[in-house]
């Protein structure tokens, strides 16, 4: 499958306000690495929400894994969501569950037997450098630590698409680089990666990544800034 995601003239409106996203069209190739940039308030989070099925667009066509995601019946959403790993901008860790249990959540939801859960969770804790903090509850963790737990939870289920909303906002540059390496190794295993960020330092570290830029809710193509812009869908 070449295109894992396809947006066509997608619009999104919150309530009766103006359109937050307008005429958004692009395709994402399976196995590629994408950055989504844009000023704060440009609509990055909104676009990602459409992508990870937290919202439905007010107009346009979205195809995910080759299927129409706009009219997807509610019953089929869980199956689709299990194929998408999400690092939320605000982490969304369950505060009364330990770091360990937060990371294990996707596996438990997917019905993996308890005996098969420990090894991958330990591995993920080590990967994000928090082996010692497995029993800690999120409120006792620093912002950076919470972010790493959120990333571990997003990738543990080996999703086909990983969506990360400013995943390095709360960590120091060294940790940011380490997390980026994590994304890259996941990408090498075949996962399509979409990272929203305005950290150009980060973007420049991934040579083969493609970039999309949002300006006021529209995909823009300002000259010179974009490397490898993703192919626009021609109407």
């Amino acid at each position: 499958m070449a295109n894992i995601v396809q947006f066509e003239n997608v619009g999104l409106r919150y309530g009766t306000g103006p359109e937050t996203l307008s005429d958004v069209s692009f395709t994402l190739a399976a196995g590629a690495f994408y950055f989504l940039t844009g000023a704060s308030g440009a609509g990055k989070t909104s676009l990602l929400k459409l992508l990870y099925l937290a919202r439905r667009p007010t107009r346009g066509v979205i195809r995910l894994f080759g299927e129409d995601a706009v009219t997807l019946p509610r019953k089929r959403l869980p199956g689709f969501r299990r194929r998408i790993g999400v690092v939320f901008q605000d982490f969304r860790l369950v505060p009364h569950l330990s770091a360990y249990d937060n990371i294990a959540l996707p596996l438990r939801i997917a019905g993996m037997p308890e005996s098969e859960i420990e090894a991958p969770v330990r591995e993920m804790l080590a990967w994000v450098g928090l082996t010692e903090r497995g029993r800690a509850k999120p409120p006792t963790l620093s912002g950076g630590e919470q972010q790493r737990i959120a990333i571990a939870r997003a990738v543990i289920g080996r999703p086909e698409i990983l969506v990360a909303d400013e995943p390095t906002g709360n960590v120091d540059p060294a940790m940011a680089e380490r997390l980026l390496h994590l994304f890259e190794s996941l990408n090498r295993l075949g996962t399509t990666i979409v990272v929203a960020t305005h950290d150009f330092h980060l973007i420049n570290r991934v040579g083969h990544a493609q970039m999309m830029r949002l300006d006021n809710g529209r995909i823009s193509d300002p000259t010179g800034l974009l490397r490898h812009p993703p192919r626009r869908v021609e109407e």
């Binding site: 937290a54 019953k75 299990r82 939320f88 969304r92 369950v94 997917a110």
Partner: protein, 295 residues
């Protein structure tokens, strides 16, 4: 699906204070339900034994102006029925008691020696079948054309009326308790959905199905109902047992029929489990319906 009965799944919804409140509400409601059910079952037994007693009791009246013929017929009937198979007891109602019964109707003056009084014979049957009643009628008719057999109509007994009222009352109480429990469960489920909105949203985003989420709630609410229910039921059974002891000391009348049999105790003990099952279903339905309205 492994949001199963594991410890981590139970930890997903954490609110111990609410749990305690639920357990106590359920304990009180199921205490009252078991008590009402105990009263109902006891009353059913009392009514049944009273019905049996009344059904086995006949009165033969000989209404004849000629006192000599009347007394002869009465004696003949008494003679035939004494020792008749299926007849437990035959006894003529003493004339004084008959007078006492009639006095309110006829007044002092009416109780004239000349006034032809009927004789009455009380008959207790061990076999209260219609055939048996017919046989007694035939015997009485043989002795006198003017003999009438009265079967004590069960519905004439005011005690029986009272027992029926009690049974209906117990039934109404149980139905009210079921409705109230359902309402409490719906309320608890809805409050739970509110309290855990963020957690549920995360679960959904990670690919949880509505059924998985509903299961978290239904398991918890069923457990709370069961724990509260067992506490309430034990208290109610203890009270029922105490009342039984007191009844046994009274030992008379229709009330003595109010004993609970071993089967009744089992029915009462099953009530918390029934309620837990209902609570589980109500929680499941309400959570699934509420979730169905979200994306």
């Amino acid at each position: 699906m492994a949001l199963g009965p594991s410890a981590p799944a139970r930890r997903l919804l954490d609110d111990n204070r609410r749990t305690l409140v639920m357990v106590w509400i359920m304990a009180i409601m199921i205490f009252l339900t078991v008590l009402a059910a105990g009263l109902g079952l006891g009353t059913v037994h009392a009514a049944t034994s009273l019905d049996n007693e009344l059904a086995g009791r006949l009165t033969v009246q000989v209404v004849e102006a000629d006192t000599a013929a009347r007394d002869a017929a009465t004696a003949a009937i008494l003679d035939r029925l004494e020792g008749f198979p299926g007849v437990k007891r035959v006894e003529q109602v003493p004339p004084e008691r008959l007078n006492a019964l009639l006095k309110p109707w006829l007044g002092e003056a009416g109780l004239d020696a000349d006034l032809p009084m009927p004789t009455m014979i009380d008959v207790d049957l061990s076999d209260a079948s219609d055939a048996m009643v017919a046989r007694i009628s035939a015997i009485a008719r043989q002795a006198s054309d003017h003999a009438v057999v009265d079967r004590h109509a069960t519905w004439l007994s005011p005690v029986r009326d009272f027992l029926t009222t009690l049974m209906l009352l117990a039934l109404a109480l149980i139905i009210l308790m079921l409705i109230a429990t359902g309402a409490v469960v719906l309320l608890a489920a809805r409050t739970g959905l509110d309290t855990h909105r963020d957690t549920i949203e995360v679960l959904h985003m990670l690919g949880s199905t509505d059924i998985q989420v509903a299961r978290l709630f239904q398991r918890r609410i069923a457990l709370e109902t069961l724990i509260g229910g067992v506490i309430g039921t034990l208290a109610a059974l203890a009270l029922c047992w105490f009342l039984q002891m007191r009844l046994a000391l009274l030992g008379s009348g229709a009330i003595s029929g109010m004993v609970l049999e071993p089967r009744d105790w089992l029915i009462l003990a099953a009530i918390p489990f029934l309620f837990a099952l209902l609570a589980m279903l109500a929680a499941r339905l309400s959570v699934q319906r509420a979730l169905g309205r979200t994306l």
